[in-house]
Symmetry: C2
Subunit: 366 residues, 2 copies
């Protein structure tokens, strides 16, 4: 594992001290910030996440704040989703695409006010896209990265822990909805969301200095719930089919290829619509699939991805893979050509540890 | 030193095998790619760079290709430099700014043709800024990241080594000019440029599969010149005042604050011009300075940067620092308030190893 040198360019987060104290053993870099990859091990973290509750430093989900009279107008251009139907307390997962329908990012947007949105980013400086569109068209909006850092509380005991800190009100927050809840001398946007399938919340910590007091309070109140500091888990997110922009799909993929058709429903003339609508009608040439890879769980990290072959031809790429203790198989996410994407199709994956047989599945595991 | 997990999102480069074989000991992440930080040690690499010749994998300087009838029009909007004076074989270092003069990147632009430019990026997805401006205004340009990866050859023996591979023609290339020179069955843009003050070239390797053959040929031809694989060196680049976007300056700094006034000379109505011209007239509130920090070379990496105090007030930030073997002092780059930026002014730097005295200098070291 390569060691990474700290610099001001690779930023810390308001929660870095928690991450260090909890002994994160490996990292990735995401939006110019360090993000823990695991603490005890992928497997131990996974088991704990599925049974208890974890507190995740996901400050790397940097916010782009879009505020001003033209905020909705800009959002309508950028979003594949129907911005006019967005409720006041709603969060939208949304592909954002170029004019050819190529994905530029897939943030979660939060409606802060009628004229104010936050985009909680996947890896990539989407701020520059929004800013370019706004300046290019003379829109009356301010586009900035505010000092807002998400802290996720994930796992089956997340609701109980959150209730101890924010009160029973949090139990009424619906999926991808939020409430503003008081903390110390301020209040935070608290949404029922997060990059796991175990349930939980994301707290948009507005003001970096609140980060450690909040994190420590959650740990303290969660001691008898076995709460610990964690991070998005590679195994669990593959089981759940949660895509990683930059790995599973990129600018050379459309949201339709990425299996995100259901999020492309805007009646507005958004950027990329023509190609996206064409692909919805005619079908894409390749698409995201869950793929089960044969053999034992001794596969190395797949780095740049593994080529997929079928009938002697290259028919896809596996970008994310891991051994699943619960399903006792290698779970993976692939971009598979139409010729081989039907459930049950046998394919070959060219891993760094040799060729493995594999089967395309109907659905993800969880 | 934190370990980093490989993934498709953190991409390899066409030269990764060279980097691995040469035993890079530490990395940073830059434009979603691994970039070596040092091989033997910062000090040993530095000494070698100043005496011999190194081959650097700087594929992280990702290219943004801007091509089409409106390419020059877009470049005029984005660049602080006079695009109409750019010669056919010229490279321009250029700040690119938002409407408030805040820096978004500082690429080197290369004029490939009258209607075609490459921007060789600092860390950050500037492609999205260019794309947003172009789409927002309906410009007729294609904006893409081509499969072009710079390989730098740097050091006092760089010219001799390059002549052995590309012929004596390279000796006639002037600073920040380029020639197209044949290699194998193709040709590359070869510029006299690079992120060191030791002289050298950057080869824009167009086609990833040429990366290893070229790198290996350079190593082979340079055996008696002590050529080795290297990387940008922290000490040498601070001595030379080569700024790192994201560390030394960011969106909250103007090019004038960054000491780049001489590159802000465009007669066009480029984005950010009003504020930049105002700062040129009235002077900025703070500016990049070279700062000599007292005491021994035992300072840790400065991570998020060190606050600078003067007369009991915070008056700046040191974002990059290292011990210089040649100058036997701690060399550093700071953003210093006007009140304390005069050469000779004594200031205090709050390092992680305690408070150190320091002196603002007139110029960088080399």
């Amino acid at each position: 594992m390569a060691g990474i040198i700290p610099s001001r360019r690779i930023r810390g987060t308001p929660f870095s001290a928690l991450v260090e104290a909890a002994g994160a053993k490996a990292f990735t870099v995401y939006n110019h910030m360090l993000l823990a990859s695991y603490y005890e091990s992928y497997e131990a973290d996974y088991r704990h996440l599925k049974e208890h509750v974890q507190i995740w430093d996901v400050a790397v989900e940097r916010q782009v704040s879009i505020k001003g009279p033209d905020a909705l107008r800009l959002m309508r251009q950028m979003s594949t989703r129907d911005m006019d139907k967005m409720a006041e307390d709603q969060c939208y997962y949304m592909p954002i695409c170029d004019h050819n329908g190529g994905m530029l990012n897939d943030p979660v947007a939060i409606k802060i006010a009628e004229d104010h949105y936050w985009l909680s980013l996947a890896d990539g400086d989407l701020l520059q896209w929004a800013l370019g569109l706004a300046i290019g068209q003379g829109f009356d909006v301010e586009i900035e990265e505010p000092d807002v850092s998400p802290l996720a509380v994930q796992g089956p005991k997340a609701e109980d822990l959150m209730a101890r800190v924010f009160g029973d009100e949090i139990r009424d927050i619906r999926f991808f909805r939020y409430k503003r809840l008081p903390f110390s001398d301020t209040e935070f946007v608290v949404a029922r969301s997060g990059w796991s399938k175990q349930g939980g919340f994301e707290i948009y910590v507005d003001g970096g200095h609140y980060g450690l007091p909040l994190g420590n309070l959650l740990l303290e109140k969660g001691r008898d719930l076995s709460a610990r500091v964690g991070c998005p888990n590679l195994i669990e997110r593959i089981e759940g089919g949660l895509l990683s922009y930059g790995s599973d799909m990129r600018r050379d993929n459309s949201p339709i290829e990425s299996g995100l058709s259901r999020f492309c429903n805007s009646p507005a003339d958004y950027i990329g619509k023509r190609e996206i609508e064409r692909q919805k009608l005619e079908g894409p040439k390749r698409q995201i699939r869950s793929v089960e890879i044969d053999g034992p769980g001794d596969l190395p990290h797949n780095g740049a991805g593994w080529d997929v072959y079928g009938d002697g031809q290259k028919v896809g790429l596996i970008a994310s893979a891991a051994w699943s203790p619960d399903f006792q198989t290698n779970v993976s996410i692939g971009m598979i050509d139409k010729s081989h994407w039907n459930a049950g199709t046998r394919i070959e994956v060219h891993t760094k540890r040799g060729v493995r047989g594999a089967t395309v599945r109907e659905k993800f595991w969880i």
